[in-house]
């Protein structure tokens, strides 16, 4: 682990990159903004460019250095030295350590221990910090917002900015009582972060970006895309098409269908915005409801509202996707 003084030396001629993984509404972008505001030198924060929806996995990036020219680039961040994961449910869904430098730090809001985390992400060459941010958030803030708390974890393992500087940034951004609570939560987080140091620090002078990774080799080339740019439904050309996005992980609830009560009236099928109501044609030549496609259902609950016989109910998911609350618009369209 590097001390604040050592990091200051590193930052004179190098860039430190951070990446935050969160879900839409959890404040990942706000966390990365606060890094830039708390840092004494030059910094840039970029959200993952695109439209962001509540509950969908989000990423945001931070580039910090004392050298203005080094952070002047508007390139995206490919090789983070620190990755912070605000929501443990992302661990199974996203490759959170992609590009993370050897000896870099992975900070996760989780109750798992550090060795378990190394196993989940399949990396032995990184340091791990864990913190039960959800509990601290509920205790101190009274609601499950972990974005500022995770910053406490970062200060603990890589003090690129001081607690006081972060507190100042928070006071500029949030109003009185909210700011005070967040600062208290951060102080508790610094205390409670569990550190699993493998004794290796990242080499900040090495550029670990994979050449041409921004070109996404493996997807179809210009010679292979269909005429007029059409994505034909029966082909699997667009491997990142929306049908393959696990929108099911965005929601707060599992929707449950009761076959006994269902009258096959199909009102839920009409109202579902995600085609997540599964129907099949029976031997009688009629369409019958067969269940709910949990991979795509993001629990908007329209079906529950519209069902005339209460054949659909909901159950709160285990895990923190349920903590999403609206905040500053991120991404946008």
């Amino acid at each position: 682990m590097l001390t604040a003084e050592q990091l200051k030396e590193v930052l004179k001629e190098n860039v430190i990159n951070l990446r935050f993984h969160a879900r839409g509404g959890q404040g990942g972008v706000t966390a990365s903004n606060l890094c830039v505001e708390a840092f004494y030198g030059y910094g840039v924060c970029q959200p993952m460019f695109g439209a962001e929806r509540m509950g969908s996995p989000t990423e945001s990036y931070v580039r910090l250095s004392a050298n203005d020219d080094l952070v002047r680039t508007n390139e995206q961040v490919y090789a983070p030295h620190v990755v912070a994961v605000l929501d443990p449910s992302l661990l199974g869904e996203i490759d959170v350590t992609a590009g993370l430098a050897k000896g870099g730090w992975l900070i996760v809001n989780t109750v798992l221990n550090q060795e378990e985390i190394q196993g989940v992400v399949g990396r032995k060459d990184i340091n791990v910090g864990t913190i039960d941010a959800t509990r601290i958030a509920l205790d101190v803030l009274g609601r499950n917002i972990t974005n500022t708390i995770i910053l406490g974890g970062i200060i603990r393992v890589m003090p690129i900015f001081s607690t006081d500087a972060l507190a100042d940034a928070i006071m500029r951004r949030f109003k009185g009582e909210v700011a005070a609570k967040n600062i208290a939560a951060i102080k508790q987080a610094i205390e409670e972060t569990c550190v699993y140091d493998i004794g290796l620090d990242p080499d900040f002078t090495i550029d670990t970006k994979v050449p041409w990774q921004q070109v996404f080799l493996g997807l179809p080339g210009y010679k292979e895309v269909d005429k007029a740019g059409v994505w034909y439904c029966d082909e699997d050309v667009i491997e990142i098409g929306s049908g393959q996005v696990n929108t099911g992980s965005w929601g707060e609830y599992d929707m449950i269908w009761d076959e006994e009560k269902c009258t096959d009236c199909a009102q839920c099928w009409f109202i579902c915005p995600d085609f997540a109501i599964i129907r099949e044609k029976g031997e009688d030549g009629l369409w019958h409801m067969k269940g709910i496609d949990q991979f795509h259902c993001k629990s908007c609950q329209n079906c529950l509202e519209v069902c005339p016989v209460d054949a659909i109910s909901k159950k709160l998911k285990q895990g923190p996707a349920s903590c999403a609350v609206p905040e500053d618009q991120e991404g946008g369209s």
């Binding site: 924060c45 970029q46 550029d207 070109v215 080799l217 080339g221 292979e224």
Partner: protein, 409 residues
């Protein structure tokens, strides 16, 4: 909204404040400080948060402006033009397809010599697929229709451009658009220093000008026969000639107030050993400047004033520094075998000099432009020794699943 992004602009800014902001809100702040009378824009996609930020400031009471939502970008530009003709300081904003929808009404503000300002968050238009990400739609087909156009590299510059545009518009009496790269600047949080309100007021005084005036009735935009139209156009052409000089004067006045130095064209490391320079504009300049820390044998020419295009200044720079080769990077294409629009402007300027150049089309639809592109462009340019053959190529595009077009990978 749990956070009020425009809060810093709710009160009088008394001294320079360093803060962090995304490009869109920074522009909204800059526009707020120039005290517009009318803000009119289409509020839905592809609109940006700049207008949202302005509605915040108007709603809060800090800015006494008419905030007008309209049903389309065509309506927005028409309304803004009319408001400006009536004497109001007016601002509008758009992006992508919205800009194309405006095209029909863009020439009128020019013809009427109105100091309208518009922000453009540069984004792709939709063909063949929909994209909300960065490309340079504003350069296509010379669709600026006679507007002035300045392009910004980062959040500080785009904030400053919001104020500079008002100064340029009102000095030249031509409408001015200021452009930043969509998402890359519009949504990045960067540090910037805000200018005190009093300084902005001094830089952008509301001066008397020609307006629609009931006491002096006249027909604006009435029909003319072939016996008259051409004189109107030539009159505009003459009026455009001093604009670049007026821009320069604006930049030097701005420097007196803020210390920040701008020019029509800015140059970096042009006296280099390879006598080669990149030539581009917008956010990519930042990428190149960072990359140049390790590539000191190459220079950069950054175009800030895209329209009017500073031909003579560019020629002078190239002659003074003995630049032999130019690598032009741009985020638009032409599809018709000609050079893309930005390169075409450069090529026109270079014609008398015979400087060697090649144009590289990069970063369309939000694809990141990185050190990989710069390395390859530099290597390719080193092999160029004449102006035969194709003068442009796409760079950073997949040819097949496993192959990048014209790049040995």
């Amino acid at each position: 909204m749990s956070i009020e992004p425009m809060r810093i602009f709710f009160k009088e800014i008394k001294e320079p404040i360093t803060t962090t902001m995304i490009g869109n809100y920074a522009v909204a702040g800059g526009v707020t400080q120039t005290d517009p009378d009318v803000i009119c824009a289409f509020p839905i996609t592809p609109q940006t948060q700049s207008v949202e930020g302005l509605s915040d400031v108007v709603h809060q009471g800090r800015l006494k402006a008419a905030f007008v939502n309209v049903e389309s970008e065509l309506a927005a530009i028409s309304f803004s033009t009319a408001a400006c003709a009536a004497g109001a300081r007016s601002f509008t904003a758009t992006a992508s397809q919205g800009y194309l929808l405006m095209t029909e009404a863009l020439p009128m503000a020019v013809g009427w010599r109105l100091p309208l300002t518009m922000m453009i968050s540069a984004r792709a238009f939709n063909s063949p697929n929909l994209s909300i990400w960065n490309s340079w739609e504003f350069t296509e087909t010379n669709s600026e229709m006679g507007w002035n156009c300045i392009v910004s590299e980062n959040v500080q510059e785009t904030y400053d451009a919001a104020i500079l545009s008002v100064m340029i518009s009102e000095d030249s009496l031509f409408p001015t658009m200021f452009v930043h790269d969509g998402f890359i600047i519009s949504h990045s949080v960067q540090k910037l220093t805000l200018i005190p309100d009093e300084a902005v007021r001094q830089m952008t005084p509301k001066k008397p000008r020609h307006t629609i005036d009931p006491s002096k009735p006249g027909t604006w935009g009435g029909i003319v026969t072939p016996s008259y139209f051409m004189e109107g156009r030539k009159n505009l052409d003459e009026a455009k000639k001093p604009v670049l000089n007026q821009m320069r004067e604006v930049f030097s006045r701005f420097k007196k107030f803020t210390g920040r130095e701008y020019d029509l064209i800015e140059t970096y490391n042009l006296d280099n050993s390879s006598k080669t320079a990149f030539c581009t504009m917008g956010s990519m300049c930042g990428n190149i400047i960072s990359w140049m820390l390790k590539n000191k044998d190459i220079g950069l020419i950054k175009i800030r004033a895209f329209r009017p295009f500073p031909h003579e200044e560019l020629r002078k720079i190239i002659e003074e520094h003995n630049i032999e080769k130019l690598i032009i990077l741009e985020k638009s294409d032409s599809l018709n075998g000609m050079l893309p629009p930005f390169s075409m402007s450069i090529a026109t300027a270079l014609y008398p000099l015979g400087t060697l150049f090649r144009s590289f089309i990069v970063g369309l639809g939000g694809r990141d432009v990185t050190r990989d592109e710069f390395d390859v462009a530099k290597k390719k340019m080193a092999l160029v020794s004449d102006m035969n053959g194709r003068l442009y190529q796409y760079l950073g595009v997949r040819e097949t699943k496993g192959n990048i077009y014209e790049v040995d990978y």
